[in-house]
Symmetry: C2
Subunit: 220 residues, 2 copies
């Protein structure tokens, strides 16, 4: 029984790694499509998001089946519940990739953002890809040092996100309303992508360090 359960937990982990790997490909393609105005790559990202969604649904069903059949308690229970939450965040990361790709497709053959913002978005995109890679690695290895790196990358992305607003609201901004709308949304999607990764990293760190100290449940 215990051995079957351990095998099932491994399967949950493998599936999370599988989904994270697809998210990694998705953000790589989305940011390339965005930065290089590559419409076919954008279409690929949009088409592949269904696969990510289906795999998260399927993983959720597996997790619920494990809860029903194995009735885990204590740390094992936390692992399965965390898997449900991690899959939900991965699904949202896929959505952010898709939104970035949709902006690229919508603006094609033009680029989404004007010249003055391109290096900023190239750097945000590079960091999002980096965050996705580290996240897959973290889910595979449970090496909590990686969680710290993801948080650092996220801090840098937050700075770049703010710098987009500085530029858009600065005196030298020559963009029209469409550029402003697109830069605002694109920056938000890049930033949210990394936020979800940080949220997953916290959960993995939590599990790996066994720090299950939770405040007692108040009677509200």
């Amino acid at each position: 029984m215990r051995e079957v359960f351990q095998q099932e937990l491994r399967e949950v982990q493998e599936r999370l790694v599988e989904i994270a790997t697809l998210v990694e490909v998705s953000i790589e393609n989305a940011t390339s499509a965005f930065n290089e105005s590559n419409v076919s790559l954008a279409e690929t990202v949009i088409a592949n998001d269904d696969k990510i969604d289906a795999l998260t649904v399927s993983l959720d069903e597996l997790a619920i089946n494990i809860l029903a059949r194995q009735q885990p308690v204590a740390r094992d229970l936390r692992i399965v519940v965390s898997a449900l939450r991690i899959s939900s965040s991965l699904e949202r990361m896929g959505d952010m990739s898709e939104h970035i790709a949709q902006l690229a497709r919508y603006r094609f053959p033009e680029k989404v953002v004007p010249k003055t913002l391109r290096s900023t978005f190239a750097e945000m995109g590079r960091l999002d890809v980096e965050v996705a890679r580290k996240l897959t690695e973290l889910l595979r290895t449970e090496d909590v040092a990686i969680a710290e790196q993801i948080r650092n990358d996220d801090d840098r992305i937050d700075e770049l996100h703010l710098s987009v607003f500085d530029k858009v609201l600065g005196e030298t901004w020559k963009g029209g309303a469409e550029d402003t709308v697109d830069a605002t949304l694109a920056s938000r999607y890049h930033e949210r992508f990394a936020d979800h990764a940080v949220s997953i990293a916290k959960k993995v760190q939590y599990l790996a360090t066994g720090d299950w100290q939770v405040s007692s449940t108040p009677a509200s």
Copy 2:
């Protein structure tokens, strides 16, 4: 045992209703603060979001404790897992209210959006409040007819969200970059608020109708 479990499920439901009620107050205050440029109301929303966050954490702990102690199966298990997901969506609805309030505070004493957009945002805000009220009612009564109403309100909010972009990108738009950024973000927050409500409504409908037909879990 069974009776204790039923009592615990009722407590989960009551806590969800309690959090939804706070979200309702939060969006009422946030949209008033936004539309009337009321900075003290905005501060209230921002300060109260911690309470919503704490209550969702506490509800999650209760749900996990129930899983550990009662080891529910079948529909009962689905109910508890759904509660975890519903609380996560309620928490995000609270965040959207907070973001709307933050825009109001940031722009104070000015209003966030220029005159041409005010009636649109007033209507979006009114609908978000309506959606929140219906959601509390749905969680309290499990009357699935309400789920349908929430979806209809959400469709209308989506239309208004698109109409914001039509105005901002139209020839008569006189707003500067700051107005454009704020209108874009504000519209997105209003729209996302309702999206989360729809997602909760689907889960409640799912539970109430007992439609647990899920595709078999593929071996991926």
